[in-house]
């Protein structure tokens, strides 16, 4: 095939890649490579397409063939660095990223790849410097600010992370990942409701991101723990108010149970009052997707019912059952947490 023909194929493959048609792009490139097996541009593009298709081992072979044909082309080293990083070969990945950066030090995309590869290799201070360099090269790039924010968050520099997330969102309000990561930062800094709101917004920007629903599930687990903590002092108050004979009906138990429920209800209302209406379907979907979480919230609904029973009958012993339910829910949370940790390894 002629050079012009290869250029046409390459452009077509790039268009298909941009449209997310990775299978078609791969097919087009492989057909062209059958005729021009040594074309470095086609090989490099194939490597990148396979990287995006999450087939790093095959992509690496293509990228290395491209480098063999054109060792001075920085982008091929950049592709190789990303592919090696995906294959957990971090030292080689960092080496390849530095090679790419030395060939094209003014290229922001290469600087970002360098930062990403260093971050995945857990060389966070170097990664932070590389990300800062990417921002210096292209201050209007939302992706570069997002990278700075993510690495700063990993370094526990949350003030910098927040500023960088906000800047990324200012530059590109449709950056769903930046919105998601800022929400995670909110959750981790003790603002679960603000975080939940941010997550719902991130889901609205890009509803196809599966991580958003998973993060909402994590937030709901955290909230369930907080709710359980609210029931503990309420239960103690009820048991104390029911006196020496908790099996007998007393007005003090009635009043304490009613007051506790009212206080818990007001606190919940105060917490959720600012959430957008789109939160409801998202929360319901998260509950449906996680069986133990659903059981946890059903258990808390049972606690509310027990308090209502105390408020209605004045018999404090029902409040004791709340302890039982809370204990079982705590055990469930521990087992689920441990199981998921083991599975995640």
């Amino acid at each position: 095939m002629t050079a012009a023909g290869n250029a046409a194929v390459l452009q077509r493959a790039v268009n298909l890649r941009l449209l997310g048609r990775l299978d078609d792009a791969e097919r087009v490139l492989r057909e062209a490579l059958a005729e021009s097996p040594g074309d470095p541009d086609l090989l490099g593009e194939l490597g990148w397409v396979l990287y995006l298709a999450e087939r790093p081992a095959e992509g690496l072979a293509a990228a290395e063939a491209a480098i063999a044909a054109a060792p001075g082309e920085a982008h091929f080293h950049q592709y190789r660095a990303s592919l090696l990083s995906d294959l957990q070969r971090h030292d080689e990945a960092v080496q390849a990223a530095y090679t790419a950066a030395s060939l094209r030090p003014e290229e922001p995309k290469i600087a970002r790849t360098c930062a990403r590869v260093l971050s995945r290799a857990r060389r966070l201070p170097e990664a932070y410097q590389a990300a800062r360099h990417a921002v210096a090269l292209d201050p209007e790039s939302s992706a570069s600010h997002l990278l700075v924010a993510d690495i700063a968050d990993d370094l526990r520099d949350r003030a910098t992370a927040r500023r960088a997330y906000e800047e990324a969102l200012r530059l590109d309000p449709q950056n769903a990942m930046a919105r998601h990561d800022l929400a995670v930062l909110d959750v981790n800094t003790g603002h679960p409701m603000r975080g939940l709101r941010g997550l719902v917004e991130a889901g609205g920007i890009d509803p196809t991101m599966p991580i958003v629903l998973r993060t909402i599930t994590v937030v709901l687990w955290k909230l369930s723990w907080r709710l359980r903590m609210l029931f503990i002092p309420a239960t103690i108050a009820c048991v104390v108010a029911s006196g020496a004979e908790p099996g007998d009906a007393t007005w003090s138990a009635r009043v304490t149970a009613a007051a506790s429920l009212l206080a818990i209800g007001l606190l919940i209302w105060w917490t959720v009052r600012d959430l957008p209406t789109a939160t409801r379907p998202a929360v319901l979907a998260a509950l449906r997707s996680d069986g133990p979480l659903r059981i946890s919230y059903l258990g808390m609904a049972a606690c509310v019912l027990l308090f209502l029973t105390v408020a209605g009958t004045g018999i404090g012993v029902f409040a004791g059952f709340v302890w039982l339910v809370l204990g079982m829910l705590g055990l469930l949370a521990l087992v689920v947490g441990a199981t998921r940790k083991v599975r995640g390894r």
């Binding site: 449209l19 997310g20 889901g203 509803p207 196809t208 599966p210 629903l213 379907p281």
Partner: protein, 415 residues
Amino acid sequence: MPDDTLLTSLLTAIDAAPDDVPLRLHVAGLLAERGRPAEALQHCSQALARDPGNAEALALLQRLTTAMAPPPQALHRPEPQRPGPQRPEPQRLQGFDWTQAEDDVAGIEEPVPAEDELPSPVVEDIEQPGVRLADVGGMQQVKERLELSFLGPMRNPQLAKAFGKSLSGGLLLYGPPGCGKTFIARAVAGELGASFFAVGISDVLDMYTGQSERNLARIFAEARRRAPCVLFFDELDALGQKRSHLAHSSSMRNTVNQLLSEMDSVTADNDGVFVLGATNHPWDIDSALRRPGRFDRMVLVLPPDAPARGAILGYHLRERPVAEVNLDRIVKLTEHFSGADLAHVCTTAAERALALSMRDGRLHALTTKDLEAAVREIRPSTGPWFATARNVVAFANTDGEYDDLSAYLRKNKKL
């Protein structure tokens, strides 16, 4: 007259109980019998508004629309040629032989605009589909939605106009991959008696700047020339992707702009061009393409239901040696399988039977066991699509555009 008294009483009863659907339908039937189809149609429409799935109402609606529509020949009857305004005869030069001059230039070919010489990228793909919706097995709900939202108004333009229903705009079929969206699009073309142009991304995308837009313009021009026709854009999410996703590709953004412009009935005369699109990812389509006059109607095409699965399995087994196949059992086991998955099941089962036949040296016809084993091996390919769809319903269904999908996910405990 006693009949009129009865009708008057019934109409009074409807005023008193406007939500009584059976009563309304009864009255609509009586009105239709008495030759008052327009009033009958009003009652029928109101009954459908209260109970959209009512089979009796749907049947009556179809009957009424058929009765009210003009005969089909009349719809496409060409306008009679009107004689143009009388022009004065040009003054002829005295003594010049015009006949001889015309004979002299008779052999010269008429000039043709340069653009017409270029072949349209899809001309070879134009076909006259022989399939109809009746050929689509099962999927009754999809057929009803198509009939109500698209085919009915297209077949009865006057009636649609009377109800203020616009005939412009396209229809978007969406759903998991391999569930027959393209086949349904062909069947729609067959129902309309129109030509069918299937346009894929390879027909449009071109490496040269501006060529993709020109390809698109030429496709629409060809479709207008061949009207009535169905212009079917497969994988619409590729050609009409959100422009915010195409920040780094100005040529792709321009292609989307061109598609918007071609679909706009303000800038183009699209009479007789029915634009259909199919996509697995409607959420990736540029929102401008979903506005009125463009792809403003969406129909969800789900994995085949039980009757459709039976028909698909029967089709794929028809030319294979089959013995003792309990099709009902296989149909039950293949819930959520796409049409493509069912074909795969049949192929896998056939391979199994073939291997057994080769080993034993005699023919082993396909049995239920072979098919069951194949079903165990194959996972429905629709799973990842539904995982994404669940997220979309959770986060992006604020205006109810995915209500059908939401209802399906709830019914199948996927949400």
